[in-house]
């Protein structure tokens, strides 16, 4: 099973997650979101939804991906048990994406201004996803919490010796 843990953020919900590669990292994040919202073992893979999202960089791509997944539940009443993704850095080699210190790290030091303006404007990252699950049925599915949205605050994706790690803060 994909790996994640929640971390303390006073008002909201922080999630740390890991993956072997970038796609696996995104799959972990998807799992975390639905595992936190509902009792996932009760959700069956009856149907799949396919979608494509783009982003200006890896972090933006992650937020847009999770937005789309949250919309599947919040807008369409669809609970996701498992999500498979494929990521293309179309025209942009991975290393060209600007790396940015997370505000959490800045949080321990100075007020660092990180340029948003220098991020590439055209979406260069593209993701294809296949989300498997079933429609929310109140009699069978127990909701544990509502996740309103994924924020950009403290957003972080980085490569580690063991693979990839990500960090998001959700509004709950």
């Amino acid at each position: 099973m994909p790996r994640y843990e929640v971390f303390d953020h006073t008002a909201d919900l922080g999630i740390l997650f890991e993956g072997r590669d970038l796609a696996d990292l995104f799959e972990s994040a998807a799992f975390a979101v639905f595992d936190l919202m509902t009792e996932l073992p009760a959700v069956e893979e009856r149907r799949t939804h396919r979608f494509v999202v783009t982003g200006g960089d890896r972090e933006d791509l992650l937020v847009n991906f999770l937005r789309e997944l949250l919309y599947l539940f919040n807008g369409r009443g669809f609970l996701v048990r498992r999500c498979a993704v494929r990521i293309d850095a179309a025209g942009a080699p991975e290393t060209s994406a600007p790396s940015r210190p997370a505000p959490s790290e800045a949080g321990r030091g100075a007020v660092e201004a990180v340029s948003v303006g220098s991020a590439p404007v055209p979406p260069q990252w593209r993701l294809e996803a296949e989300a498997a699950g079933e429609p929310f049925a109140p009699d069978r599915h127990r909701m544990k919490m509502e996740i309103k949205a994924v924020t950009y605050h403290g957003l972080e994706i980085r490569e580690t010796p063991a693979g990839w790690r990500g960090r998001i803060v959700c509004d709950v």
Binding site: T10, A11, V111, A113, R142, M145, E146, A149, L155
Partner: protein, 479 residues
Amino acid sequence: MSITLQKLDEHRWLIPPSGGMRVPGILYASERLLKEAGGQEGARQVANVAHLPGIVRHSLAMPDMHWGYGFPIGGVAAFDLEQGIVSPGGVGYDINCGCRLMATRLTAEDIRGRLADLVAALFRDVPSGVGSRGPVKLSAKEERKVLVEGSAWAVAQGYGAAGDLETTEDGGRMAGADPDAVSDRALERGRDQLGTLGSGNHFLEIEVVEEVFDPVAAAAFGLAPGQLCVMIHSGSRGLGYQVCDDYLARMVKHAGELGLELPDRQLACAPLASGRGREYLAAMACAANYAWANRQMLMHRTRETFEKALGLSPRELGMRLVYDVCHNIAKMEEFPVEGKPVRLCVHRKGATRSFPPGHPALPAAYRPVGQPVLIPGDMGAGSYVLAGTEHAYAETFGSTCHGAGRVMSRTQATKASKGRAIGRELADRGIVVMAAGKGTLREEMPEAYKDLGQVVEVADRAGLSKKVARLRALGCIKG
């Protein structure tokens, strides 16, 4: 280098401008509240907001400040209409999340022995929790009317009386709402959620006026000791979240065009004078109106439930709206700046408007004493009613605190409450609580929040709003 706070006086702390800060930050807090405000994170967010273009005078934090995302919770910032920006993250996902206080002709004595039944009836009749649906499914045409007319739409449908509009901030209708600025996704999410409470910290609470600090203001608001009241805390539901998210995504995407250096992407914004900025404001107004219609419908359902459960006529119950305030909003308001009245766009993210006596925006009955400020506490802590002040109008763009503010995260609260029966503990204190969500009671346990009394005391002593009355909780339903 970390953020240094300079103590200005007993309740004010200054963050001097440094780096890209355009104005200083000012935090309203006691030493104790400052300690509970989440370390450096909240103060850093106040400093971050000070980076935004066109910010006027100060980046402010109210006494219930805590670590949010982008803006701190309890953050207030005003922007010049020509040079300034509007930031969806500075309003929040739950656009026009707010509070509504209703008073009745009953006393706590009148429902003695029937409280549990009443709470159960409210829990049954008022839709709450994740995925709950409201009493109406709006047609596309009808939904557009809700978005433009707000509370007035609800009243026209029979949910309440015309007088309710007078005692709602802005008459329960924000001007400039354009449904064409709202995405199909947001419209879809709004179609069946009108009249629902929501989840998390949203609630409906039966309260009793326990203590009156200012008898003149209390009398003007129609509040007296022993009186039974109801406080509702809810917002614009999925429609508002979607509006925020849609515009945040767009503003992040186009951030490069502004050539701004922002310390947090969540602060993404658009100039007030730009097409994108105006479009967000038009969509935000729609969500604000949706929230007002929502609270108006929740109030109506509450009134019906009280009448049915207690076997009372509308006249006997006499439930009327004391006031309705929003605490997640951006609004065009006029304030004195360097001696001249100037129209500004005030962002209140977890902050309540606090308009002074005599302000034309107030209903005639409240004008002599100032605007009612409704401050809900955590589950079981009851609420406070305060009145707006001249000082807030002059110093904080007419703003004060909005609640107790969390001191423990939800995970900390869940851990800390392990092995405890929170519902039972509250019951032992005479408070009946019912919640839809499995973990809600643990996450929302009383210790997870700051002491409401402390927050209100600081708001009062710092002159941001004056204490009028304290209400004690009797029964509560949560999502």
